[in-house]
């Protein structure tokens, strides 16, 4: 006698690229059994713009405005990595003042990025109000950026050997005021969010990644530190002048969405600490290494050739990238942002490989959402913190 097995019809649902809560233009093909996720397949590439190929046809100075379009919420970091590579290849020294200014800008950018992670993350689990609060603080950071760089988001501020301009008069005081104000706001967030029982119920134990998995998947940033590994490139690599400041690496043991949230909240506090110390100790002196304008310049750049004689405004001269290869990395808000750079005795890089943290961190998503509820997809995706600009490049 044949016993008929019950047939299960799974529901296949497209989440994105135009789902109202999707982070950018990511597409998830989700297989559901009722409310339970059976499978999830991410599909990328909707925001691919050929950023790596563009880099191979531009000088570093020409390419700088492009890089802020990778992670368009943490723009200073993309600029920093873009100038750090050539600086290390050409062994260019950065003046102390410029280094301090860079640190201040990077940490402000980290806070801005974490704020614009927090708002949508809370919206993903149904709390709309923090989204408005985070913009209140983010606007103040934008005001500081605008005063220093002339632009709110896409700054084009970092230069090889320093920064584009010095800080304007009164900027340091304004930044101090912001730091004092922002600490009170973080306390407000903690009251509103961290102790909320519904929030805790939604994020505790959701999207757990253990230490072994974190290392095997090559995750970085808050994803890594939330799983119990105290690894922060600001401490490990000591780039810029982070070793001169007193601050702690933020980490948690649990490896769930709550741990990732707590790490990011803690990082904002630490960023404020770093900024305050940098503002206190900012030295005088030049904000740019002017010597790099003079050495290692291309002898006869192709721009001087006959075909280009009608170009009204010639691009700024740049130096040759030595025939070497180099991997540079930086601790971006989302994780390890790296560039594998190959020079070819040319003004243009021969290869410019971007290692975006969001792209690497996103790989674990299908594994994390399996056997979870439909509502948990957005919670987990939000806790990973991706920006499709850098994922698709």
């Amino acid at each position: 006698m044949n016993i008929s097995t019950t047939r299960k019809d799974f529901m296949i649902v497209n989440m994105g690229p135009h789902h109202p809560s999707m982070h950018g233009v990511l597409r998830l093909i989700v297989t559901l059994d009722g409310e339970d996720v059976i499978d999830c397949e991410p599909i990328l590439g909707y925001l691919h713009r050929g950023m790596e190929k563009i880099a191979e046809n531009r000088t570093i100075i020409q390419y700088l405005p492009y890089v802020t379009r990778w992670d368009y919420l943490a723009t200073m970091f993309t600029e920093a990595i873009t100038v750090n590579g050539p600086e290390q290849l050409g062994n260019i020294q950065v003046p102390k003042r410029a280094s301090y200014i860079r640190v201040i800008m990077l940490e402000l950018s980290r806070i801005a990025s974490h704020l614009l992670w927090l708002g949508p993350f809370m919206a993903d689990i149904g709390a709309q109000t923090p989204f408005f609060y985070i913009f209140r603080e983010r606007e103040l950071i934008y005001d500081l950026f605008e005063a220093a760089t002339g632009m709110r988001m896409m700054h084009n501020f970092f230069r090889i050997g320093g920064v584009a301009t010095d800080l304007p008069y009164g900027w340091v005081d304004k930044c101090y005021d912001f730091c004092d104000y922002f600490l009170t706001r973080i306390v407000e967030y903690q009251k509103l969010i961290t102790r909320n029982p519904i929030f805790l119920e939604r994020v505790e134990g959701v999207g757990v990644v253990d230490i072994k998995e974190v290392i095997n998947w090559g995750l970085s940033g808050p994803m890594l530190r939330a799983s119990g590994i105290q690894w922060d490139l600001r401490k490990v690599d000591n780039y810029e002048c982070y070793e001169e400041f007193d601050w702690e690496v933020q980490w948690q043991k649990e490896g769930d969405s709550l741990a990732r949230y707590l790490v990011r909240i803690g990082e904002m506090m630490e960023s404020i600490k770093i900024i305050q110390q940098a503002l206190e100790g900012i030295p005088g002196g030049p904000y740019e290494n002017l010597e790099i304008r003079c050495f290692d310049r291309e002898k006869e750049p192709e721009w001087n050739e006959f075909e280009y004689r009608f170009i009204s405004k010639k691009p700024s001269p740049t130096f040759e990238l030595p025939k070497q290869e180099l991997y540079v990395r930086i601790e971006a808000p989302k994780g390890e942002l790296g560039i594998f750079l190959i020079g070819d005795q040319n003004g243009f890089p021969w290869r410019w490989k971007i290692r975006p943290p969001g792209f690497i961190n996103l790989q674990i998503l299908p594994q994390l959402v399996k056997r979870m509820k439909l509502a948990d997809i957005m919670t987990i995706l939000g806790s990973i913190d991706i920006i499709m600009g850098e994922v698709d490049r």
Partner: protein, 363 residues
């Protein structure tokens, strides 16, 4: 037999008078209904405006400002826009189910208003089973949502419809048990009798003090019935785009929008009627009884005051619901169902048991 002309005229006059009486009778049947619907509509517009202003206050922004004084006409402007918007119907959906869903939701909620005593003897129909009429009819609204979800031929809509049905079933039971406890205390299912029972002992006679646990359970369950945050899972845009509303546009979407606010308003009214003494004004240490003795003859005045008191209490709960919406995150579907079945149901059953026991011992 000679019938004079004047007599014929008199007969015609009386006959016309009778027909006028019939017409007046018909008008008198429909007038209160129309007045009630008009009042409800104005209240919904007020609630929408309140929602926007309160949410703006909570979120530290401005809110509606330009459409009318303080932006009060914003809801009217939105309604007009929806009225003139193209009414799209999914090509492969079930057109009948798709079209009838919003209407069922709205009509079932509007009928519930008939048993609400807005003031002293100011109720459309004082039924013996007033509160149970509301509970019975409020069960119909999710059928409309389920029809909409199924008729849309959209996976997100379908999931939203299923969620609405599951949520409604889960939270109607604790709600009903709380109402049952109140009925036991008042010895009646009539909303008017429930209000009168609370009026006997003034402020401290309100069911809020006699049924504190029931009140909390009722409040949570009514929020879930209204599908308001943190229980708005059927239309959770972070998960289901817009749930059962995804494929709707124009006036049909407008009907869903109105239905949600009508439901919120009726729930707040029932909280007022069942737990806060309805139109009962008695507030401790504020002696207004003498003032009312003077004006007892003026029935209209008393009725207006009663309506004002009822609405004031109702809007207090509306404020609570709106503030809750913009403060708390959303529950997950399994957490929502667990809360309903494993937490609220046992509490409401225990509450009913305690109420029954106390009533038995007081006999």
């Amino acid at each position: 037999m000679i019938i004079y002309l004047t007599e014929i005229q008199d007969i015609h006059f009386f006959f016309r008078l009778e027909s006028f009486k019939e017409i007046y009778g018909i008008i008198w049947v429909f007038a209160p209904i129309l007045i009630l619907i008009l009042g409800i509509t104005i209240s919904v517009l007020a609630i929408v405006w309140l929602e926007r202003e309160i949410s703006a206050g909570i979120q530290q922004r401005i809110g509606p400002e330009y459409t009318g004084p303080f932006g009060v006409l914003q809801a009217l402007a939105d309604g007009t826009k929806l009225l003139f918007k193209e009414n799209l119907i999914p090509s492969r959906g079930d057109i009948r189910l798709f079209s009838i869903g919003p209407s069922i939701s709205v009509i079932s909620i509007i009928i519930s208003y008939s048993v609400i005593p807005f003031g002293y003897n100011f109720v459309l129909s004082d039924l013996n089973i007033g509160v149970f009429l509301w509970i019975a009819i409020s069960s119909i609204a999710p059928i409309g949502l389920l029809m909409s979800g199924y008729g849309s031929n959209n996976k997100y809509s379908f999931l939203g419809g299923l969620r609405a049905a599951a949520q409604s079933i889960s939270y109607e039971i604790p709600l009903t048990l709380c109402v049952l406890s109140i009925s036991l205390l008042s010895n009646s299912l009539s909303t008017v009798d429930i209000v009168d029972a609370q009026s006997k002992y003034g402020f401290w006679g309100w069911n809020l003090w006699r049924q504190p646990m029931g009140f909390i359970v009722f409040l949570i369950s009514s929020l879930a019935e209204c599908e308001r945050l943190p229980f708005d899972l059927p239309e959770a845009e972070e998960e289901l785009v817009a749930g059962y509303q995804t494929e709707y546009s124009g006036i049909k979407f407008g009907l869903f929008y109105v239905a949600s606010y009508l439901n919120l308003f009726i729930s707040s009214l029932f909280v007022t009627v069942l737990y806060f003494g309805g139109s009962n004004i008695s507030i401790p240490y504020i002696f207004v009884s003498d003032f009312f003795e003077i004006n007892q003859t003026y029935g209209v005045f008393v009725t207006i005051i009663g309506i004002f008191i009822t609405l004031a209490k109702t809007y207090l709960f509306l404020f609570l619901s709106i503030a809750t919406r913009w403060t708390l995150p959303r529950l997950r579907i399994d957490q929502l169902l667990n809360l309903g079945w494993k937490f609220l149901l046992p509490i409401s059953l225990g509450n009913l048991l305690l109420t029954t026991s106390s009533q038995l011992f007081s006999l």
